[in-house]
């Protein structure tokens, strides 16, 4: 692991035992917990939270899948089992605010848990970062390491069309002084990476090519050296696409959290 730095991550159960209640719960998500690439994004976000002394905690081993992939694949029963159990845990800790680094978790927690009695103020990390910037808590001196770099942002369907979040991630990148370029299909017309709707967990149906290949060529066509994303599945798909094209030495996929953390030298 890089620099083998041990992170200090407050855990809900431990805080509760001390009768402390943090302001925000950071919902890590399954990809953020288990996927080697996305764990780095989780760690980058933790570094920012720690650096800014934000009062937060994670559920640690008490967190489980929100149920989103089961629901999109049609298994409503399994989804509701997961959701109901999660709501019990969240309500047990009297959680009011949640921030998450996964648009799928975000969408489910925010839009779908209320139907089952789970009401929280849920924020995706892109909006969370933008708020910190607006409040002046994140300031990048001299632009940081992404200054002037050509970056293109890939809209996650579950952030964009599903929840109308198009500007926050772009504003974050602009704040890092990056040179933002748009792909042919962007914002409400953004092309999916191919992983949503539980496609992440199965082979694609027969077709002429993979969705991620198409999206990758749109991203490469911009000439950007960084493809910024804000979703673990998009990150996997676009990284695969770039590897397929053998462009991984020239173009990298970075989450906007990583870009902010690096600009802050964290």
């Amino acid at each position: 692991m890089d620099e083998a730095q041990k992170l200090n991550v407050p855990v809900m159960a431990e805080l509760a035992a001390k009768n402390e209640s943090p302001e925000i719960l950071f919902w890590v998500g399954c990809a953020g917990s288990y996927d080697d690439r996305y764990k780095k994004v989780t760690r980058a976000f933790i570094k920012i939270l720690n650096k800014l002394n934000i009062s937060y905690a994670v559920l640690g081993t008490e967190e489980t899948c929100t149920g989103d992939p089961a629901r999109r694949a049609g298994n409503e029963f399994l989804y509701q089992m997961q959701a109901t159990a999660n709501i019990q845990v969240l309500d047990g800790y009297k959680i009011k605010k949640i921030v998450t680094t996964c648009p799928h978790c975000f969408n489910t927690l925010k839009n779908e848990y209320p139907d089952l009695g789970g009401n929280y103020e849920v924020t995706h990390h892109s909006v969370f970062l933008q708020q910190l910037i607006d409040e002046g808590k994140i300031k990048v001196k001299d632009g940081g390491s992404f200054k002037g770099k050509k970056i293109t942002y890939h809209d996650s369907c579950f952030l964009g069309r599903a929840n109308d979040i198009y500007e926050a991630p772009r504003k974050v990148l602009e704040e890092m002084d990056a040179h933002l370029v748009e792909m042919k299909n962007c914002r409400s017309q953004g092309l999916c990476c191919g992983a949503g709707g539980a496609q992440m967990f199965k082979e694609a149906e027969p077709g002429a090519k993979e969705v991620f290949e198409k999206r990758t060529s749109e991203a490469l066509a911009t000439g950007a050296s960084v493809v910024a994303s804000a979703c673990p599945f998009c990150m996997t798909m676009l990284s695969d696409g770039i590897k397929n094209e053998e462009k991984e030495s020239e173009v990298e996929v970075r989450d906007i959290v990583e870009i902010v953390a690096e600009s802050l030298n964290l």
């Binding site: 917990s33 288990y34 839009n111 092309l191 149906e205 002429a208």
Partner: protein
Amino acid sequence: MAYLQQIIFLLILGTAGYFLWKRIILIRNNIRLGKNLDRTDNHSERFKSMLLVAFGQRKMFKNIIPAILHLFVYVGFVVINFEVLEFIIDGLAGTHRIFAPYLGGFYNVLMNIFEFLAVSVLAACAVFLFRRNVLRVKRFTQPEMTSWPLLDANLILITEIVLMLAILSMNAADQVLQTRGVTGYVFTGQLVFSGFLVPGFDGLPAGWLVFIERFAWWFHIIGILGFAIYVTWSKHLHIFMAFPNTWYSDLTPMGKMENMDSVTNEVKIMLGLTTDGAAAQAPEEIGRFGAKDINDLTWKNLMDAYTCTECGRCTAECPANQTGKKLSPRKIMMDVRDRTEEVGNSLVKNGKGFDDGKSLLGDYIIKEELNACTSCNACVEACPVLINPLQIILEMRRYIAMEESGSPAQWNIMFQNIETSFSPWKFAPADRFNWAKE
């Protein structure tokens, strides 16, 4: 004899009205085959959505050229219908241009506006025909655009062109008759666009001109009435359905899926969470989980299907379709409509509760199509009349997963992983927090 024309007109009007009414009732009953769904809330938002999207055509303007052409046809259609009002009064009262004396100079202005619109409709329809048949714009030639949908689209365009030509010829003949002072032909003032046709009519004897004028009049009004009935079988029904469909559209964020309350009851019982006894003992009549046929969908899904214009904007934006998968959201909507008509007709013929042994899933839509969807909402975003094909796809997946256990094998493995390891991947739950220690 004097009233013969009026009597014939009344008969035609009555017959057309009868058939139209029958179709409207049938379609209304068909839409009601769908499951209940409450969309009576939030009138102001709903009104806004209808005003902007249906009336204001907001979603059309993502693609400027078709948007402008479509706007011509749309405005032309709406405004020229005022002229149809005059036709109907004239037809019933046995008068000719009954509004002319009352409106005076303004009648001339109105007629010129109608003529301008008639010419724009004509031109726009000609360009549309060109785009469909010569340029063969991709979204009009995809597999689900089989012979009937293609013919339907062309028939409508050609009918509109012919009807507009009828109006212009009628006005041209009328103008010549006016200048010759033939009785009954009231002065309308100079009509600019049909004026271009006048030289072609000038040399004809008055008898011929009257014949042409009358023929064009009858042709136009019968054409319009026939068109109104035809539209109920056609994708062109959107001219009416766009309004209720945008009014009743989903106002929640696109990412939200409808909760299945029947499942919630079961889950609460299983987890021992039944808060009040009532919820536990009264699981309202559970049909089946998800959708196998059209009556498992909501009435709004069926209304969506009757509203679909088959424009293919959804399919053009669909990532699965773009990469050659079988899925086409437009086809989903066309299938739902075809199946709804089939069920509706079969119920009329064979009585309530009749089962024809067919279903939407299997006979119309196959799993391969449903399994290709990424739930990206591009189709929902693209639709100019706020149709939601994704909801139907997800409802059908629910049926496959919960009633048939027929999901793709890899999804079944994913389900198992969530059940046993609480994550879609098979990792030990105890390792979930290892990322902090690495």
